[in-house]
């Protein structure tokens, strides 16, 4: 049994200690927001936070999470439907995703960056985000959204990032 905290809940899993955290999250816990892209630490699709640091869960054995806090895309937002993390709000306002497959990983990398650097320069952003591939090429919007989120974190009141998105009540059978 390996015990760690996942999105604020304590969890014990019966898994091979060498099993990558990604597959524990996807196949055992069955939280599927975290994506598989390469399995080799090359694309960032599987990025989650381990004690607040962005890591590649596809090459991190679950044993390394023992006793630590793991946060996935599902754990980033607050408890209510409209309580998105400022990074998610900025993502929505900027219409960042195309296919969307890389986006949970992008958002986890961006939120880890902003947690330690609230006013990142373009170079800081490039540095923090170049491990995350987006085949659809949403990079320019990702950069803009990170700047917007930083502005919001600096002065929440003056920024309109927190407007509840118009599409919050949109329904589709393509979403869980």
């Amino acid at each position: 049994m390996i015990t760690f905290s996942l999105n604020g809940n304590d969890l014990s899993v019966d898994a091979d200690p060498a099993m990558p955290l990604l597959w524990v999250i996807r196949d055992i816990v069955q939280l599927q927001g975290t994506k598989f892209g390469c399995g080799q630490g090359l694309c960032g699709a599987c990025t989650v936070h381990l004690d607040g640091i962005a890591i590649r869960s596809c090459i991190t054995p679950v044993s390394e999470a023992k006793g630590k806090q793991v946060t996935t895309i599902e754990g980033l937002q607050g408890n209510t439907e409209t309580d998105e993390h400022p990074v998610q709000q900025a993502w929505i306002k900027n219409n960042v995703p195309q296919c969307g497959y890389c986006q949970p990983g992008q958002i986890m990398s961006a939120s880890a960056l902003l947690a330690k650097n609230t006013s990142p320069t373009d170079d800081d952003i490039t540095q923090a985000m170049s491990g995350n591939i987006c085949r659809c090429g949403t990079y320019p919007k990702i950069r803009q959204a990170i700047h917007d989120a930083a502005k919001h974190l600096a002065s929440p009141a003056s920024s309109n990032v927190s407007t509840v998105p118009l599409t919050a009540n949109f329904q589709s059978d393509l979403s869980s």
């Binding site: 099993m19 597959w23 196949d27 055992i28 599927q32 927001g33 975290t34 994506k35 598989f36 892209g37 390469c38 399995g39 080799q40 090359l42 694309c43 996935t72 599902e74 980033l76 937002q77 998105e84 998610q88 993502w91 929505i92 306002k93 219409n95 995703p97 195309q98 296919c99 969307g100 497959y101 890389c102 986006q103 958002i107 490039t126 985000m129 170049s130 491990g131 995350n132 591939i133 987006c134 085949r135 659809c136 090429g137 949403t138 990079y139 320019p140 990702i142 950069r143 998105p165 118009l166 599409t167 919050a168 009540n169 949109f170 329904q171 589709s172 059978d173 393509l174 979403s175 869980s176």
Partner: protein, 736 residues
């Protein structure tokens, strides 16, 4: 009610007869015509369902893969139905003949066609429903329909109003009226930016892709395939893989051995233990050098098929002042969608249910039918969101594999490919070699252009999978009869495959003597549709060579193109827009010591017109792209923000092709395996990108693909301006 009559009336009213959009629109209020059934609801047609409790359901018949079709098509409905797009529930349509793509005759999402082919039909179905609601309200109030105002999801008369839900019961028995569509000045939603409908779910991690769509209880499968695509299993030994944790079953399928376990990681780990002996295909005799030699021999020994023959190039070359010749090349390329191929299958003796991230659900159904041995009526295909398509998911090999595994094992399974599986088992963008020859007259004007290329045709591979769906209706005009029952060899030996020469054969340059020929040469690596298809390399060939001719004539490369396109207003407009906005002739200084240089290119594809200006510098013999200025003429935009995102994404896709993309072959085996040796552009390499949309109210044209073809030539032309070196093969590297 006579449904046949009303359908015909409807088509006539909608102006759809005789426009080439000959497909059936079952638009009566009779639910029996709809592929979806539910009690009480009004199925206005195959796309729209209105319920008494005031829900509006849109059955989306195209796949959302990032291109924005969910938002775009829903906006068309919202505009004419007078509701907000996000109040419409979007459901996946499933497979049905009503949903066939009129350009191809099968239900595919591809060819940058979704907006263009739905522009009239979807607005018409929504406008028809709106008018029927108006009539229903008029009936309830006993007033004339003209007195009823339809606005914000309700019917209004004086101080009274009905929701659409309250009118469903009456509306569904009314006859289908003829309708007039809104004119562009009446649009309230079309042409305005809005939040994409799929943005929140894709931001919160709740969007369900194929990989997230396995039903409960599915086991996970990983397949070991022959290192050379097309090989089959001669013998295999489990070597203790059975005893690995989590493993449930190991089965052989036609192209490999599948390990089935509780977790995909367990399946993958156990699969490493297998030893398999393969029967390798002929292609295992080929490597990069022998493939190139094959192309060159094919060009030398075959005259090929004529795709264009204007004037007389031979005599023009004889009389010419100056003749220039060059050979251009591009390699095979993989799609590398971020979501690897995957497919879930639950199969029993009389039903096969499939969950697949596919661009062609009816081809997937045919593949499942073939692999399961069941009848088409026993197959259900659930289309999911797609983590990137770019043409890869028009091929259904992954569906066929998954059904084979389910059948051999008797278990419900989800097959997931590793990244290595994905890169090594693609349907690749064809490699191509082209010979170009051009001549200039005494005034430095182009007299003649001759293009001859060799490449494998895509159609034989597509044909193999798609013909089972509907032979032969999907084939391009005029070829239908010729193909008949001859099968896949037809495109190899008898017919020209237009996708091999597109972008050259239909080039808009006004050159009096212009010939295009193609030689089919296929060493045996399977090929498929890759974002912008033939344009992806013919844009590079033609636009680089035109630049060579411009330089030979010592004229300005931009003016030279303008003159050759002077009668084409749209091409001229996009060209002059990038020249103006990108400051042609005046590259910016930048804050680095290395001077900057510009290159320009223009191309027409998927009915859109695109020009691009690239600004680069050279650092230590490598190319740095600083800025891209792009202009597109794509008719009316539905959502300009999505159009810009598609253009910008296409440019980044094109940058990867220009600077990095290459699949290499050794003894038939693809050498690239993962993102360390098949690199994709990352954020640190992305230049500043500016996209200008030419305002227009013409019918919309494609935006998903047309940005790709112009990128590589614009950069190659800039490299020539910087170094005097003409790079004629991709990817562009200065050291070669």
């Amino acid at each position: 009610m006579n449904t046949t009559t009303s359908r015909r009336n409807f088509l006539k009213a909608a102006g759809l007869t005789g426009t080439g959009l000959a497909f059936s629109l079952p638009l009566s209020g009779c639910a029996s015509n709809s592929p979806h059934h539910s009690h009480n609801s009004w199925h206005a047609n195959a796309w729209l369902e209105l319920t008494p409790d005031n829900r509006i359901l849109f059955y989306l018949h195209r796949t959302e893969m990032g291109q924005g079709t969910m938002t775009g098509l829903t906006t068309l409905i919202a505009e004419e139905l007078e509701v907000e797009a996000h109040h419409i529930e979007v459901k996946t349509s499933g497979v049905h003949t009503d949903y066939v793509n009129p350009l191809y005759g099968i239900q595919i999402t591809g060819g940058s066609s979704s907006t263009a082919t739905n522009w009239i039909p979807l607005r018409t179905v929504a406008a028809t429903a709106r008018e029927m609601l108006r009539k229903a309200a008029a009936k309830r109030w006993n007033v004339k329909p003209e007195a009823v105002l339809i606005r914000s999801g309700k019917a209004h008369y004086q101080k009274y109003s009905f929701t659409y839900g309250e009118l469903v019961d009456i509306a569904k028995d009314l006859s289908v009226p003829s309708v007039t569509l809104k004119t562009p000045d009446q649009f309230q939603k079309i042409g305005k930016p809005s939040i994409r409908l799929d943005t929140p779910m894709k931001t919160k991690g709740t969007a369900r892709f194929g990989i997230d769509s396995a039903p409960k209880g599915c086991l996970k499968a990983s397949v070991v395939r022959c290192p050379v695509i097309g090989g089959t299993v001669k013998s295999w030994d489990a070597n203790g893989a059975f005893d690995m944790p989590g493993v449930k079953k190991i089965v052989a399928i036609p192209n490999g051995v599948a390990v089935i376990a509780i977790s995909w990681w367990q399946a993958k780990e156990a699969a490493k233990k297998l030893t398999i002996e393969w029967d390798k295909p002929k292609f295992s005799k080929f490597s990069d050098a022998s493939i190139l030699e094959g192309y060159r021999n094919a060009l030398k020994n075959n005259s090929g098929k004529t795709a264009r023959d204007d004037g007389n190039t031979d005599s023009a070359f004889e009389a010419a002042q100056q003749v220039i010749e060059a050979e251009y090349r591009v390699p095979y390329l993989a799609h590398a969608t971020m979501e690897p191929m995957n497919c879930s299958v639950v199969l029993n003796s009389d039903h096969c249910e499939v969950w697949a991230p596919t661009q062609g659900p009816d081809i997937a159904a045919a593949a499942a039918e073939h692999a399961s041995g069941l009848r088409r009526s026993q197959i259900t295909i659930n289309t999911t969101l797609i983590g990137g398509g770019f043409g890869r998911r028009l091929n259904q090999d992954f569906v066929e594999e998954a059904v084979h595994i389910a059948k051999e094992s008797g278990l419900p399974i989800q097959l997931i490919w590793s990244r290595e599986d994905d890169i090594k088992n693609d349907f690749y963008r064809p490699a191509a070699v082209a010979q170009l020859k051009g001549s200039l007259n005494a005034q430095g004007q182009v007299d003649a252009l001759y293009y001859k290329s060799a490449s494998p045709n895509i159609m034989p591979y597509t044909f193999k999978e798609a013909s089972a769906v509907v032979l032969p209706a999907w084939l391009p005009d005029g070829m239908v009869k010729a193909v008949g029952s001859l099968g896949p060899t037809v495109y190899g030996d008898l017919l020209l495959d237009e996708t091999s020469v597109e972008g050259a054969s239909d080039s808009l340059y006004e050159i009096e003597n212009f010939a295009v020929r193609h030689v089919q040469y296929d060493p045996g690596l399977r090929v498929g549709f890759w974002r912008s298809v033939g344009h992806s390399y013919n844009g590079f060939f033609i636009e680089s060579f035109i630049d060579e001719l411009a330089h030979a004539s010592t004229r300005d490369a931009y003016q030279f193109r303008l003159e050759l396109l002077k009668n084409n207003a749209k091409m001229t407009q996009v060209l002059s827009t990038v020249a103006d906005k990108g400051h042609w002739g005046k590259p910016s200084q930048g804050n680095t010591p290395n001077p900057r240089f510009q290159g320009i290119a223009v191309h027409h594809s998927f009915k859109s017109y695109v020009a691009l200006l690239a600004e680069i510098s050279i650092h230590n013999n490598s190319v740095k792209v600083h800025k891209i200025t792009c202009a597109v003429h794509c008719g009316q935009t539905i959502n300009p923000d999505i159009v810009k995102a598609q253009m910008s994404g296409g440019i980044i896709f094109g940058l990867t092709q220009a600077l990095k993309g290459k699949i290499s072959i050794k003894d038939g085996e693809v050498q690239e395996t993962n993102f360390h040796n098949y690199e994709l552009l990352r954020m640190n390499e992305v230049p500043e990108i500016e996209v200008h949309i030419i305002p227009s109210s013409d019918a919309p044209t494609g935006v998903g693909e047309p940005a790709v073809p112009v990128v590589a030539p614009a950069i190659a032309n800039a490299i020539f301006a910087a170094t005097g070196k003409r790079l004629r093969s991709l990817p562009l590297t200065l050291n070669s």
